[in-house]
Amino acid sequence: MSGRFRAPSGGRVDRAKPVRFSFDGQSYQGVAGDTLASALLANGVHLVGRSFKYHRPRGIVTAGSDEPNALVGVGADDAHYTPNMRATQIEIYEGLVAESQNRWPSLRFDVGAINEAFAPFLSAGFYYKTFMWPPAAWKRIYEPLIRRAAGLGRAPAKPDPDRYTQVYAHCDVLVIGAGPAGMAAALAASATGARVFLCDEQAEMGGSLLSEKTAMIEGQSAGDWTAGALAGLAARANVTLMPRTTAFGWYPHNFLGLCERITDHLAGADPKLPRERLWQVRATEVVLATGALERPLVFPDNDRPGIMMAEAARIYANRFGVLPGNTAVIFTACDSAYRAALDLKSAGVAVAAIADLRAAPGGVWVDRARAAGMEVREATVVTGTTGRLRIDSVNLGKLGPDGRVSASETIACDLLLTSGGFTPSVHLFSQSRGKLVYDEALRAFLPGTSVERERSVGACRGIFDLEAVLNDGTAGGSGAAEAVGFAGAAGRAFAVDGDSVGSDGFIGVTPHGGDPSRTRAWIDFQNDVTENDVKLAIREGFRSIEHVKRYTTTGMATDQGKTSNMNALGLVSQTLKRPLPQVGLTTFRPPYTPTTFGVFAGQSRGDLFDPVRKTPVHDWAVAQGAVFENVSLWKRAHYFPKPGEDMHAAVVRECRATRQAVGIFDATTLGKIEVVGKDAAELMNRIYTNSWATLEPGRIRYGVILGENGFVMDDGVVGRMAPDRFHITTTTGGASRVLTMMEDYVQTEWPNLDVWLTSTTEEWAVISVQGPLSRKVLEPLVEGIDLSRASMPHMSVREGKICGVPTRLFRVSFTGELGFEVNVPAGYGRAVWEAIVAAGHAYGITPYGTETMHVLRAEKGFIVVGQETDGTVTPDDCGLGWTIGKAKKDFVGKRSLARPAMMAGDRKQLVGLLTVDPKTVLEVGAQVVADPNQPIPMIMLGHVTSSYWSATLNRSIALALVRGGRTRIGTRLSVPMPDGPIAVELVEPIFYDPKGARLDV
């Protein structure tokens, strides 16, 4: 048998399929269809966890996602371990391994329970009042202690190997919750042809009908009707049924996050399957059918294992065939617990007594209970319970008309069921920003005015009678389809044979007559918040419910107060004598239930975290053993080490080869924009600091772009291909920024200009061939282009062919040597690159990477945007004042340059730095000061922006931005480092071939 407490028949589990699992190392048997909670209960296990603060023994309270107590860790190994799972939601499978949490060394004997002894000191917010002395002890002693004591389960210790996926989906009507209301809504909406999604967080759809034994719908049992309804829905092509799928978050414009659990319930799941899937659903209309949650009654010692929600016990009995105890006492403020009592009794549980808070309970359910021989105690409350690891008795008290409680009797039992009525699940409605309205009669907050296109149906809007629920669901489903625009939604009336259990209930702490400072009535089980804690908070001035929440932590645990918030609210209302709606609720936030990080991250891991952009030459460089670096999304070859070389050696070799012979560099990642149209030159004039009107077709100019704030934003060379056509290059990281900015001006400021922009970054592969022998290498490869000095001077561009394919050949140099940038259509990039390498073989052509590129340009004093500039640098600051077209009236950023501070004399300016000891290489980012011996805080004059070993010059070089730098050239400053100051001389920021003679060849 699958446990001592399994009824011989009944329920929806499959007794023919035993399932073995382990809990805290002990092996148990359940059956297919069990949750971990039902299987444990079937085996008589009630103690399943320890509470957060006091390590109190705790048992299973609910049968659903609202469970506050039964949190366990699941997973056979570290990589699959998941803490804080609710036993009530875990479907068991063969080999499931679960363990209890927050206890040591064992659940039954937990050292942490010593906290109980200190409970009097651990009142709400106690830590704010102590641990302040001596000040140093907080960090070293108190805080580590507090941290270790807190925290529930343990974090997984190995990387999670499972897959998670994310899908966007659209539907006309999304129905959340597949109880009677949701099923009826889905039936009605889908009948119109609307695309309908129906999701439910549970493994099985049917909601409350799954545990309904007596009511008949349209002449069928609830179970049969449910099966029929679901089969009907499944047969409709326009319906998607989504079990095990929690709608956890509602985001603006009817965008909802749904988490589907795919493999957690399977033993040896197919590894192809993702563990969970995030459905990101845009729904035209949403129907909320999320039901209602039963509310516990709060009384002294209400937290012992064996104290359970009445409805949960009914679910265990009716749905799982499990008897949660032998002898039950029931404490209720409503009729539904009578129904539970009757169902339990018929399943074989003895009902010792029903204590009803109400003065004169009556009606069909009460009559039936009495008729079944149950003793109903009117105006009776629970004043306390006993039992260490499981409840063994209940103290009852008589509630007088004056509110006083007088002791009456003690009853032995191993099960105490409570019900304080139902709280409609308005979480998602509230997330959608709809306003809640308090209904005095129902004692509940109900959905009021909608903000999004949604409607609530059934118990989640306070409709509890099954027939009414079904009809409400139908109306809601039809209404939603109609609102989408589907006609023909037909009304339908369901006939239900069954009795309503009404809507009585109680909110707050039940009267118990005990001394509030000695009794402990638990409001929030998981966070161990008691009646006294809340009262203390109020006494201390925490009057807002938000303050009470944060001071006591009520409602902040992993259940987010699903069962406790209303009682906390009720207690505040009782204590402050302020009507409940005036106290108000705390804010509902996503997720509805805790949701795995992995499913939010989805596929974005490793190489799919961000696109890896590679150039056409990439694979060639890989084959050459290049080391790569990330530059924005791109992979760029950083250097090309030969066997045995480190970066330094490789770079020295690459630099020498380029300066002395010829080097080849992949510049494909540079951004490129084609600017075309009659007004192309006019736009260029307005965007760039330079003047473009005079640039002849076939010539190239270096250009600078500022933000409208006057700071350097990007730079690059621009070729004029034709009077109405420019080929812009930008920095690798700046490409999209520049294009976006230009588009902005073209579209919104100057729409009358006849000019269009096209990104051509990816159209062209750019092969930079640099060095005195570069012309010799290229000459034999080109067709229709005369590379000679006379015909193709520095800073010119020609169109023709190379290796038989079209090229835009730029004669430019970022190295200071004779150089060319060969642009070819990207698909040819690799072939042309290899052809050039082959042709250059005889000349010692050497591939070089970004590091060598940086050294060579630094030797020439060329800036790199983002290195010499940082968003606070003007063109003049970095030595680019010369690019500003003096005659230009306006360009983007010009006006900002006229602001006082932009013209101040002591701005940081670009200079060269030479260390007095030529062997010392400065560190980029090091600070420059006048006097290294001044006291801290020092006056810093600037910082090193670039610094390299120059093989060409056989010494170190650096660039720096230094306050009033240009006037300091020739003087010495200092770079104070932790191990001593480094003396530097300020020089012009150009170290090599200052006249540019090597370019003019």
Binding site: R163, T165, Q166, V167, Y168, A169, H170, R195, K272, L273, P274, Q280, R282, Q603, S604, D607, L608, D610, P611, V612, R613, K614, T615, P616, L633, W634, E674, V676, G677, K678, D754, V755, W756, T758, S759, T760, T761, E762, E763, W764, P780, L781, E783, K801, C803, G804, V805, P806, V824, P825, A826, G827, Y828, G829, R830, A831, V832, A835, A839
Partner: protein
């Protein structure tokens, strides 16, 4: 020297190791000539006549004729595609026809590569990175649009109910391909 260099498709290598699944099949489309045309209204008709396919005026639609396709990209922007043609010649002929107009024509033949995704699960697979409603009602055959797929921009078009074309910039192509394969994973 005039050896014609060999054109490389950025997806060549990935496509050669594909595991095909019937519910969603990935393949690489052959290279085509692609020009991006933009212009003032007057130029649009001229371009359409010269190209032989009128520029679709309806947003997010493409029209095709005789191997040539014009995709609407924006209110003044079309992608002109010509299978099996040399882009230079096409460029020259359009450019000549458009003389005197206000327009821009840019050869983007190599900027992107293209993927086909076909099969009954194609839309579902695409929705792993694309936020569009891909039902036939809202994304009918004949529709095209730029959109996103994961963290990449793509140009998506639907030539047949269970067939999508994805045109994607070269350096993003392998990312898009891999993400599609990852999404196909549960069917593999």
């Amino acid at each position: 020297m005039s050896d014609l260099a060999i054109r490389e498709n950025s997806l060549g290598r990935l496509a050669s190791v594909i595991r095909n699944i019937p519910s969603a099949t990935l393949a690489v489309l052959p290279d085509t000539a692609k020009l991006l045309f933009r212009g003032r209204p007057a130029a649009v008709d001229v371009a359409g006549r010269a190209f032989g396919v009128a520029m679709p005026q309806e947003a997010c639609r493409f029209s095709a004729r005789g191997g040539r396709t014009a995709y609407w990209c924006g209110p003044d922007e079309w992608l002109l595609q010509a299978g099996g043609e040399a882009s230079a010649a096409l460029f020259a002929s359009l450019d000549a026809a458009l003389a005197g107009q206000s327009y821009s024509l840019v050869d983007v033949s190599h900027r992107s590569d293209a993927i086909t995704l076909s099969g009954p699960e194609a839309a579902y697979i695409l929705n792993h990175g694309c936020p569009l409603d891909l039902s036939l009602q809202t994304f009918p055959v004949g529709m095209c649009t730029r959109t996103i797929f994961g963290k990449a921009t793509i140009m998506l078009s639907r030539p047949a109910p269970e067939l999508f074309h994805i045109d994607v910039w070269r350096s993003f192509a392998s990312y898009v391909w891999q993400l599609l394969e990852e999404a196909c994973g549960e069917f593999a």
